[in-house]
C-alpha cells in the first residue's frame, strides 16, 4: 500500500511471508512466541493463543476487516508502526517484546521502545523483525482492550492490565492508550494502586490519567478535542470490561 501511494520506493522487494520459521506460534516457559509472519487470520483462530491470552485473541479478531486479517501479519503491523493500530497498544500493556535479527546478531526490544513515532521504529536497515514474545499474564491478572473505530482503523484504543484483590487494584494498573497519539502512550496510574476498581471516582481518575497521557492528533476520524473525550470514555469502558471479567 505504501509503495502504491509512492510513499515507499525500493529497488528490491523480498517476500518473507513464505518462510516457515516466521509462521510459528509457540507457548513455552510462560511466554507466547508468535512468528512475525503469522497473519491476524491465523491468530484470531488459534487455540493456543486463545487459551493463553484470551484478550489478545479477541483483539486480533477485531483487527481491521476480514481481508486485512487474511493478508496482514502481526510482525508487519508492528513494523509499519501506523499509529491507528490495535496490536501495539495491547502488546505494550502486556509487556511484549519484539525479536530483531540482523547482520550483527539477535536482540529484543520492548514493543514501546521499538515503536519510536508515527511510522517510525528502531528497526535497523539490516534487521528483520522475526518474532513477538508475549509474557503470559499470571492467572490472577486481568487483561482488557476496547476501541473506537470508523472503517478499518481505530481512532482510540485503550488496554488495561491489572490484578484485583477484593475488588481493589493490587498495584498500579497498567493503562496504555493507542491510536489517538502518534504512538501508544502509558498513563501514569501510580495514584490508583489500592483503589476500588468498581468505584465511580476510580473510573473517573483512570479516564483522566489516560487523557493526560496523550496529545491526540486530529484527523478525518475526529478532532483532537473529540479524541481526547473518546480516550476518557474508552478508558472507563475498558475498566468496566476488566471489572466484569470473572475473577
Amino acid at each position: 500500500m505504501a509503495m502504491k501511494m509512492g510513499v515507499l520506493r525500493t529497488r528490491h522487494l523480498i517476500d518473507v511471508k513464505p518462510i516457515e520459521a516466521l509462521r510459528e506460534i509457540r507457548l513455552a516457559g510462560g511466554t507466547l512466541t508468535i512468528g512475525a509472519g503469522v497473519t491476524h487470520w491465523v491468530l484470531e483462530r488459534d487455540r493456543t493463543v486463545a487459551g493463553a491470552i484470551p484478550a489478545f485473541s479477541e483483539m486480533e479478531h477485531n483487527v481491521a476487516n476480514v481481508r486485512v486479517r487474511a493478508a496482514g501479519t502481526l510482525g508487519g503491523n508492528i513494523a509499519f508502526a501506523e499509529p491507528h493500530a490495535d496490536p501495539p497498544t495491547l502488546l505494550a500493556a502486556l509487556g511484549a517484546r519484539v525479536v530483531l535479527e540482523g547482520s550483527s546478531g539477535r536482540r529484543a526490544l520492548a514493543v514501546d521502545e521499538f515503536i519510536t513515532g508515527m511510522y517510525q521504529t528502531a528497526l535497523g536497515s539490516d534487521e528483520v523483525l522475526v518474532a513477538v514474545e508475549i509474557p503470559v499474564p499470571a492467572r490472577a491478572t486481568r487483561v482488557a482492550y476496547t476501541k473506537f473505530q470508523i472503517l478499518e482503523r481505530p481512532s482510540v484504543g485503550v488496554a488495561i492490565v491489572a490484578s484485583l484483590r477484593e475488588g481493589r487494584f493490587a498495584d498500579a494498573p497498567t493503562v496504555v492508550v493507542g491510536a489517538a497519539d502518534e504512538m501508544p502512550r502509558r498513563a501514569d496510574t501510580r495514584d490508583l494502586a489500592g483503589a476500588d476498581a468498581r468505584a465511580a471516582d476510580t473510573a473517573h481518575a483512570l479516564g483522566a490519567a489516560a487523557q493526560r497521557a496523550v496529545e491526540p492528533v486530529g484527523d478525518l476520524a475526529g478532532s483532537a478535542e473529540y479524541k481526547r473525550h473518546l480516550v476518557g470514555v474508552f478508558a472507563r469502558r475498558t475498566l468496566a470490561s476488566l471489572v466484569a471479567q470473572a475473577a
Binding site: M1, K4, D15, R67, V68, A71, L151
Partner: protein, 156 residues
C-alpha cells in the same frame, strides 16, 4: 522491474502466465478478461476487488500477482458454472441486494469465504464479516438478508 512466469489455479483451471513484478492481482485477472473483479477505491478499503487467495478473501488491488504463484485464485466468474447460478447469486437477485452493482462481485466473494468456513452464520456474524465491504446503494440490510438466505439454501 522484471517479468516472471507464475503458475496458479484460476477459478479451478491451471494457468501459467508471465507477469511483471509490479503487477497487481486485480490487474492480472482483469487483463485475462475476468472483468467481474472491480477496482473502486484502489487502496484496499472498499472491498470491491475482493478475490479469494487459497480460499481467503483479499484485496486484489493491493496484492501482487507474483504472490499468487503456486496458489489458487477465485474470482466472481468462478461462482457459477455458466448455467446455474451460485446460491449467493440467486439470493442477491431475490433480495435485490444491489443497485449499481459495482460492489457486488466483492460482496459475493467475501460472503463465499464466510459460508465456506461458517455455513450457518447468524446476522451479527454476517455483519461483522462483511463490514469491510462498502456499498453506497443498498443500506446493507438486503445484503445481510441475502447472505443469510443463501446460507439456508446451501446448508439445507
Amino acid at each position: 522491474m522484471a517479468d516472471r512466469e507464475i503458475a496458479l489455479r484460476l477459478n479451478g483451471a491451471r494457468r501459467r502466465v508471465t507477469v511483471g513484478d509490479h503487477l497487481t492481482l486485480s490487474d492480472l485477472v482483469r487483463s485475462l478478461g475476468l472483468l467481474g473483479t472491480k477496482v473502486s477505491c484502489d487502496m484496499q478499503v472498499c472491498g470491491a476487488c475482493t478475490v479469494l487467495l487459497d480460499g481467503r478473501p483479499v484485496s486484489s488491488c493491493t496484492t501482487l500477482a507474483v504472490e499468487a504463484d503456486g496458489r489458487s485464485v477465485d474470482t466472481v466468474e468462478g461462482l457459477s458454472d455458466g448455467r446455474t447460478l451460485h446460491p449467493l447469486q440467486t439470493s442477491f437477485i431475490a433480495h435485490a441486494a444491489f443497485q449499481c452493482g459495482f460492489c457486488t462481485p466483492g460482496m459475493l466473494m467475501s460472503a463465499k469465504a464466510l459460508l465456506d468456513e461458517t455455513p450457518s452464520p447468524d446476522a451479527e456474524t454476517v455483519k461483522r464479516w462483511m463490514d469491510g465491504n462498502i456499498c453506497r446503494c443498498t443500506g446493507y440490510e438486503t445484503i445481510v438478508e441475502a447472505v443469510l438466505d443463501a446460507a439456508k439454501a446451501t446448508s439445507r
